[in-house]
Symmetry: C2
Subunit: 413 residues, 2 copies
Amino acid sequence: MNAEIIAVGSEILLGQIVNTNAQFVAKRLADLGINVFHQSVVGDNPKRLTDAIKLADGRSDLVILLGGLGPTVDDLTKQTTAKYLGRELVIEQAALAKIERSFAETQRKMTENNRLQALYIAGSIPLPNETGFAVGDFYQNSNGSDFLLLPGPPSELRPMFVHQAQPLLEKNYFSQQLASRVMRFFGIGESLLASKLTDLIDQQTNPTLATYAKENEVTLRLTASADSQIHAREKLDKLEKTIQQRVGEFCYGYGDDNSLPQVVVKLLRKRQLTITAAESLTAGKFQATLADVPGVSEVFPGGFVTYANQVKSQLLKIPAESIQKNGVVSSATATAMAEQARKILHTNIGISFTGVAGPDELEGQPAGTVWIGLALKDQETQTKLFHFSKTRPYIRERTVLTGLDWIRKELLK
Amino acid sequence: MNAEIIAVGSEILLGQIVNTNAQFVAKRLADLGINVFHQSVVGDNPKRLTDAIKLADGRSDLVILLGGLGPTVDDLTKQTTAKYLGRELVIEQAALAKIERSFAETQRKMTENNRLQALYIAGSIPLPNETGFAVGDFYQNSNGSDFLLLPGPPSELRPMFVHQAQPLLEKNYFSQQLASRVMRFFGIGESLLASKLTDLIDQQTNPTLATYAKENEVTLRLTASADSQIHAREKLDKLEKTIQQRVGEFCYGYGDDNSLPQVVVKLLRKRQLTITAAESLTAGKFQATLADVPGVSEVFPGGFVTYANQVKSQLLKIPAESIQKNGVVSSATATAMAEQARKILHTNIGISFTGVAGPDELEGQPAGTVWIGLALKDQETQTKLFHFSKTRPYIRERTVLTGLDWIRKELLK
C-alpha cells in the first residue's frame, strides 16, 4: 500500500508559506503503516496539475491532493481531478445549506463561487468540513489510483483528515482496527530515549513505536492493530508498561494536544495549590508560559520580574550585601528569591530563576549557568544548578520548562 | 528561466520534519525573478531519485537538489547526480583539509565516509560550506538542465545559498545587478497594505514588490535590478519613498533578521531611557519578550506580574476600592498600574496591560478587550482601548506587540 501527496498552490511554489500540510499527512500515513514514496507541489495550473495527477496515478495506490478546494478562481483541484477521472461534479446539499446559512447570518451576499465549495465528485464519498465550507472527497477507483481530496487551510485539513479520512482509509485498506497513543517526554533526548528502547524499536511490528523530537521534548507514538479496539488498546497497555518501567520518570503526559504547562496547571488546580515566581534571566517567561493555560487564575496570583540586582533587593527584600556576598548566580540568591516571593504573596509554592542567559558571561560564569530555587510551604527550600548550552532563546526556554518539570515531579511525590 | 526543487530525504516523506528548505529556496528564487513550477520530495533511494532528476531535466532550466550530501550511507545525492550526468566525483582539497583538521582537533577517528563530504562533480563549481563539512555544487550543463546541490541542514543550506549560490545564479542567468530591501510593518493587515499599494504592485516590473504575511506582521520585499548596485539601490530608494508616504506610520524597521522588540530595545538604549511594566492578562509576556533581546539589562531593571486584583493592590499599592469601583478592565486601572510601576522602580517609562485574555469574559467584557496604559516621566499618562479577536494566545501576543509599537512611536516623536 503506497500513497502519494500532491500539494496544490502557487503560494507554496513562491515560498510564501511552508508546506506543513504535507508533513502532517505524511506523519499520519506513516503511523497507519502506509508508505509515501513521493511528495510534490504544483501551482494553481490545470495543465501541470493534470500532469502531476497522471504521473501519480501510474505509480501509487492512493493519490492525496491537498488544497485548491476553496471559492476563488484559483481553486481548481476538484474540477481538474473530476475531468481527469471523467466524472461530473455534484452538489452536497448539507454543505450547501451550511454555506447559505452562514451568509444569511452575517448578512453578506453569497456569490456563485461560494456554491462551488459544496461540490464533490459523483460516485465518491463527500467528506464534511467541521471548521470550514469546502467539502473533501474520497474516490475509490476500480481502474487506477484512489483519490483523496482535502482542503488547504490546516485548521480545516487536520480535523477532516483525523475525523473523516483516517477512518475511511482504515476501513478500506486494513481489515484490522487501529489504536494509537502518544506519550510525551521531557528531560531526555531523542537518542538516549531510543537507545533505552532499542530492543523494542528493533523488534517492532505490532505495536509499532516511533519517536519524534522537537527542540525541547520527545514524543513517542505507539500504534497497534487487532481485531477490535479493545484488543488493540490492550497491546498498547502492555507495551506502555515496559516503556514506563524504563523511562517513566521522564514521561510527563499523553496526547498530541498537551504540554508541560498544561499538565502542571492541571496538577496545581487538582491539589488546590497556589504558585508564584521570582524571575531574573527568564524575565517573566515562566509566568507568561503558565498563563498560556486557561483557568490559571485559580492557582496563580502574580509574581516578580527581578532582572536587576537592585530590584531583587527592592521588591523581594533581599539585602544587597547578601547578593553581593553570594553572587547573583548562586544557590543562596536562588533560595532567597524563591522564599521571599512565596512569603510576600502568601502562596504554597515559590520558584526562582537566576542565571546567565548570554551571550556574555556574568560574574565569571558562562552563558547557560542557571540556578533554580523551589520553596514549598513548611519545607526546606531546595535549589538545583543546571548547565544549559546553545543560544539565549534556548537557555531561557529550557530554564522555564525545567522549572515546570521540577514542580510536576514535586507535586506527584 | 524556471527552476525546480527536489528535496531528498526519507525523514520528509515520513513526516518527521517539515520541508522548510524548499520554502526558503523558493522564496529566494521568487525574489530573484526565477519561476518555480514544481517542487518534489523523494526518499534516500537512488532509483527514485534518478527518475525525479530525469523528469526535472526534461522540463526545467535549473534543477536544485536539497539534502543528501552528508557522511552517512543514506546520503547519495552527489553520487546519483554524477552518475546521471556521466561525470566523476573528485575531491575538493580545502574542504577535505577542513574535515581532517576538525577530527584532529577533537581527537576523533576520521572514517572514509567523512571524506565523501569533500567530493564534488568534476567540471562543476564546488561551493564551500561555512557552517558544516559537505561541499555544495553548481554544475552548468551544455546539453540539459543546470544542477545546484545544497546540503540538507538548514543551518548549512541557508548561508550556502545566500553567500555562494545566489551570486552564481545572478552572474549566470542575469546580466544585471540585483539589490533588495525588506520593510517590516506592524498594525496593518496584508490585504489593507496591498490595497494601499495596488497601483505599485500591479505596475511592478523593476523594482518588484512582494508582500509576506506572518500572524502578526507583514513584510514587503523590494527587489530592483540595474547595471550597478548603486543604480539598483537608487531605484529602491525611490520606490521606498512612495511607500513611506502612504503607509510609513506602520513601518517599524528593515531587514530579514529584525523584530519589534529589537527595534524598541535599540531605541531605548540609544535614548538611555529605562522601562518597566505591570502586566495582568499578559502575565510576564511583555517583559519576557523585551528580554529576548541581548543587552536589555541596560534599560530594563524588572517589573510586576499582577494577575490577581489583590496582587495589583499589594505590589502596586493601588487601593482595592479603586479597582472595585472602576473595574479591573478599565482606563483608570491601566493608568494606576502604569504610573505605580514607573514610580516604584524609578524608570522613565511604565507600561501596563489589563484586559480579558479569554476564553471566558470578565466583568461582562468579551475576550479580547484590552486596556494599555503608558506612563512617561513628567507627562500625563495615556491609555488606549483595544478589541482583539481570535484565541487566547493571539490576544496575549497581539497585546504585547501593540504595547511595543506604541512605545516605538512615542520614542520617535
